[in-house]
């Protein structure tokens, strides 16, 4: 069995559910209470992808719609990133796409997935499936997730992990 370690970053506007998504994925817990992230929070989680044991070092970066110098420092050495937006707030979807463009311009084509979160509130969604068609992110890399009930979060992270393994970019260490 191969053992690897990779750094991934979680990016998105404030209050879209980045920390809740990480908490659901890493600890399988959820809290309705909103607590702002300052700086970055580090967690680790090991996933099995086929016969590879991949230890993910998850950087939960404070919410932003624009990559500042400090954010770029946080992103350095990341093997991939999860973009998160809130389906009930259309502007956060655009912010996620903007972050994607900025990261792409700075680091090139790094493995990525987009999580459109709060699918448990889908009746109040401003983001529509049709919006995905015009997005620069491939449809199979966009997931409608819910940190509250856990819908498709593991699937999204595994999809990112598979991209990382397929990509074998620098930063993955054995």
């Amino acid at each position: 069995m191969t053992r690897l370690t990779a750094k991934i970053c979680v990016l998105g506007e404030f209050a879209v559910g980045k920390t809740s998504t990480v908490a659901r994925f890493v600890h399988n817990v959820f809290s309705d209470k909103y607590l702002t992230t300052i700086g970055v929070k580090i967690d680790t989680k090991t996933v099995m992808i086929d016969d590879v044991e991949l230890k993910l070092v998850v950087w939960d970066v404070a919410g932003t719609d624009k990559l500042k110098t400090v954010d770029i420092a946080y992103l350095k050495g990341a093997s991939g990133y999860l973009l998160v937006c809130d389906g009930t707030r259309g502007d956060t979807f655009n912010a996620a796409l903007s972050l994607f463009d900025q990261a792409n311009a700075k680091f090139g084509d790094v493995p990525h997935v987009l999580l459109v979160n709060k699918h448990d509130l889908s009746t109040s969604w401003e983001v529509k499936s049709a919006d995905f068609d015009g997005a620069p992110i491939a449809g199979n890399r966009i997931f409608k997730t819910s940190a509250k009930n856990g819908d498709r979060i593991e699937e999204a992270v595994h999809a990112l992990a598979r991209q990382i393994l397929a990509n074998e970019v620098g930063g993955v260490s054995s």
Binding site: F14, A15, L35, T36, G39, V40, K41, T44, S79, S173
Partner: protein, 514 residues
């Protein structure tokens, strides 16, 4: 900047006290050579010297140790730290400074800021939703206004309808009742009885026309009139209409002419029945309202549409009435002629079914001119010759000595038909229901059967099917008060719509027996 030694020492002590620095020294392979400073017991307690830095501190996975890096406010399991990487010729130093206090202060202020931003976002969303709801309310209000106007319009039409019913229906009904009483009076002489019967006949025909008009309008309104597009010969339709309308014009000593332009294709595709109904209404109106002069019908072809113009030399329609004359039960200012006020309205609705329109020529002064435009298709020459329309018989006499079986449960209809058919020389068998008709037909083998569709015990369609199955091959004509589309006509030779005009009945019988 150079600081006095005492100050520098003081600051160093304060920094150490507050930030609890931890310094990890690495060799060139990023292995830990030494760990110095505070908090070693909590942060790197299990770490052995010689271990790789990214195994001891996974937060540094992927980070090159060859360049200076500052990572502020990094939340680890044991607290929040500023992490600094300082490369040196023999490896690198990794310095961790406790930033828990700074993190707490920033967290508190950012939490408030973000919550206010969220509130603003929710407020904007609520305002947006409120605006949408106001928009929806305005739209709903507008829709309600529209429906109220429609309801008011219907109420006006209903009022007009009731007013029309009161006057137009009561007048002939009163006439029928009074003249019938007069005819039944035992003291009445034969001349009085004849005059009474003539008056009853006139009033009945008028009533029949009114009922037909009201029913036609109701059928259109209920969407029961279906358009049936098929090719037909324009000149044959116009000749047929001329045969019907010219005698009516002649009765009032009015001229009548119909002209079909050379531009009109021989065969066109549209609904001939609808066109026929429109023209009968328009020409009938023209004849009714014209006392002297002539009625003309011009047929032309313009922009893939059949263009029909009916002109009369009557009093015309006052300008003020022209627009509303196209509405149901609207008779304008002229009340000196009987009518339901439905003719033009029905024409407009029928034209609408064919996506065409009816207009009153506002510029015409010499009477009234109605223009009808109906989209149609040039059908070219048909592959099979169209059936020749039957020529109407001028003599209502029996063509041959024949036996006719009449089946109807309406005693008046039986009596009337018996009177007329005997008058012209036919022998008659009567049946009051379908079963009796089947029995008599099979027993006496009549030359022709007149079969009402709605008869007791066995309806006309089933009785006819039973006769056909029993080998009866002679003509059977259906008599129906409803549309022929609503019953199975397969077993019948033809059908006639009630109320049946006796000359038309004679014509049909002669056709079938001839």
């Amino acid at each position: 900047m150079t600081l006095p030694g005492l100050v520098a020492e003081y600051l160093r002590d304060r920094l150490f006290e507050r930030r609890l620095p931890l310094c990890v020294t690495l060799d060139k392979e990023n292995r830990i050579i030494s760990i110095d400073g505070s908090r070693r017991e909590s942060l790197l307690a299990d770490t052995q010297l010689g271990a790789k830095i990214d195994e001891a501190l996974p937060v540094l996975v992927g980070h090159p140790m060859t360049e200076t890096v500052e990572l502020p406010l990094v939340g680890l399991a044991d607290g929040v730290f500023d992490i600094h990487v300082l490369p040196n010729p023999s490896g690198a130093f990794v310095v961790l400074l406790d930033s828990g206090l700074e993190h707490e202060l920033l967290q508190r202020s950012q939490q408030t800021t973000n919550e206010v931003r969220l509130l603003h976002a929710n407020q904007s969303k609520l305002i947006r939703r409120m605006r949408e709801m106001i928009g929806e309310l305005v739209e709903a209000r507008s829709e309600l206004d529209h429906r109220r106007r429609e309801a008011e319009k219907h109420a006006v039409q209903q009022t007009r309808f009731i007013a029309m019913m009161s006057h137009e229906f009561r007048t002939p009904l009163a006439s029928i009742i009074n003249y019938a009483d007069l005819a039944l009076d035992s003291t009445a002489d034969s001349a009085t009885i004849t005059r009474s019967n003539e008056a009853i006949s006139r009033a009945s025909r008028h009533l029949s026309t009114l009922v037909e008009a009201v029913l036609d309008d109701a059928k259109i309104e209920a969407g029961q009139v279906k358009v049936s597009i098929s090719p037909f010969a324009v000149t044959e339709l116009i000749e047929d209409l001329t045969m019907i309308m010219a005698p009516l014009a002649a009765e009032k000593s009015l001229g009548f002419s119909a002209m079909v332009s050379d531009a009109v294709p021989s065969y066109i595709e549209t609904d001939a029945t609808v066109i026929r109904q429109i023209l009968i209404n328009l020409l009938g109106n023209a004849i009714k309202f014209t006392d002297a002069g002539a009625i003309t019908l011009n047929v032309d072809w313009r922009n893939d549409a059949i263009h029909l113009v009916v002109t009369d030399t009557g009093p015309g329609i006052p300008v003020a009435d022209r627009e509303r004359m196209l509405e149901a039960f609207e008779r304008g200012q002229r009340r000196d002629r009987e009518g339901a006020g439905l003719g033009l309205s029905i024409c407009a609705k029928l034209a609408n079914l064919l996506e065409g329109k009816v207009e009153i020529d506002s510029g015409y002064q010499g009477g009234c001119r109605i223009i009808v435009n109906l989209p149609a298709t040039d059908a070219g020459e048909p592959n099979t010759p169209s059936p020749v329309l039957p020529q109407p018989s001028s003599a209502d006499t029996a063509k041959a000595s024949a036996v006719i079986l009449l089946c109807d449960d309406d005693e008046d209809m039986l009596a009337l038909a018996e009177y007329y058919l005997h008058q012209v020389g036919y022998a008659l068998l009567l049946a009051r229901d379908g079963l009796e008709a089947v029995e008599k037909a099979l027993a006496y083998d009549p030359d022709l059967i007149l079969m009402d569709i709605n008869t007791p015990r066995l309806n006309g369609v089933d009785a006819t099917n039973r006769l056909r199955q029993s080998g009866f091959t002679k003509p059977i004509i259906a008599l129906t008060a409803s549309d022929a589309r609503y019953f199975d006509q397969a077993a019948f030779s033809d059908y006639l719509r009630k109320p049946i005009q006796m000359p038309r009945l004679m014509q049909e019988i002669n056709k079938q027996l001839g």
